[in-house]
């Protein structure tokens, strides 16, 4: 029984090490350029073991890539635009410094891997619905969509393209600069 527990633990540790490596590689080079072989080598295991544990490359991607939870839909009524702004900025501020690698993995492949694209589309759709539902004024859905695409653009620029101009800019500073911009979209002029 002692033995069994140790083996189970070992297996869980190995599985976690494989997942970590996969996340890092999917985040770094995307779905297509990540190979089972490279993940296995990186994790120090046999390629067949990866298949044994996760079944297929697609399933490994599903296990390794994940988007953050949806907008917390507590109340349904229209919120204060300022509150919407602050919530989105807080989300972005947290994310931009420490986005989980699983999210970067998903975003890295969202333009070229159809299933990642669909996952991102669905998730953004829910965010847009919830945020738009909380906005006053005209075309709330469109303005919510623009808020979300702005966030996506910033994350892409800083974390995926790693633009020089956004390197070494503290998240707080970015949030401060974006605040009036978000406010303008949120209160619908």
């Amino acid at each position: 029984m002692e033995t069994y527990r140790n083996r189970a633990d070992r297996r869980r540790q190995t599985e976690e090490r494989i997942l970590d490596t996969a996340r890092a590689m999917f985040a770094a080079v995307g779905y297509e350029r990540t190979t089972i072989r490279a993940v296995a080598t990186g994790a120090g295991v046999d390629p067949a073991l990866v298949m044994q544990y996760f079944g297929s490359k697609k399933d490994l991607f599903v296990a390794a890539s994940k988007l953050p939870d949806d907008w917390p839909a507590e109340g349904e009524g229209p919120l204060d635009p300022d509150e919407v702004t602050e919530r989105l900025l807080a989300t972005l501020g947290l994310k931009i410094g420490g986005i989980p690698e699983s999210s970067l993995a998903m975003m890295r492949s969202m333009l070229t891997h159809p299933e990642a694209a669909q996952t991102v589309r669905d998730s953004l759709g829910r965010w847009i619905g919830a945020v738009g539902n909380a906005l006053p004024g005209e075309d709330p859905q469109v303005r919510a969509a623009l808020l979300m695409t702005t966030m996506v653009g910033v994350i892409i620029g800083q974390r995926l393209l790693e633009l020089d101009a956004l390197r070494d800019v503290p998240p707080d500073r970015l949030v401060a600069l974006l605040r009036p911009c978000f406010a303008a979209l949120a209160d619908g002029k």
Copy 2:
């Protein structure tokens, strides 16, 4: 000579047809998932002909993908922030309806194809430099970068992810909604 001209014309037409097909496929599914074979089939020619004309898949991508020209740097002095805003919005307004497929091809692959990433980084870097140079106030480069990532985000949302909320929204409307947002970033509060 008549014959020669006809052959040269034919060849140019064939080359253009291959390029059109390649652009469409690169824009639709990205670099990795586009195959020489599929391009050839789509253009109604032999795969070997594509290699004959363009040398390699990389070279075909280079020939088919292109970003728009840089920001027109006429004067160097700080411009009116409103003017910067209007120029960027005009660029986006034109683009969003009719972005050249060659640009979409480049953007589709910018997160997963290293050379596309570098091309986009370089181009955005030049835009950021020029726009930042034209902005007054604090951290002009950072604000310029945020303006550019916002544009990138919107294009991705509407043309590459094809978000429902942005479908069928006229470019004019998007530009109008983004104007105060851009203005806030451009005049630095």
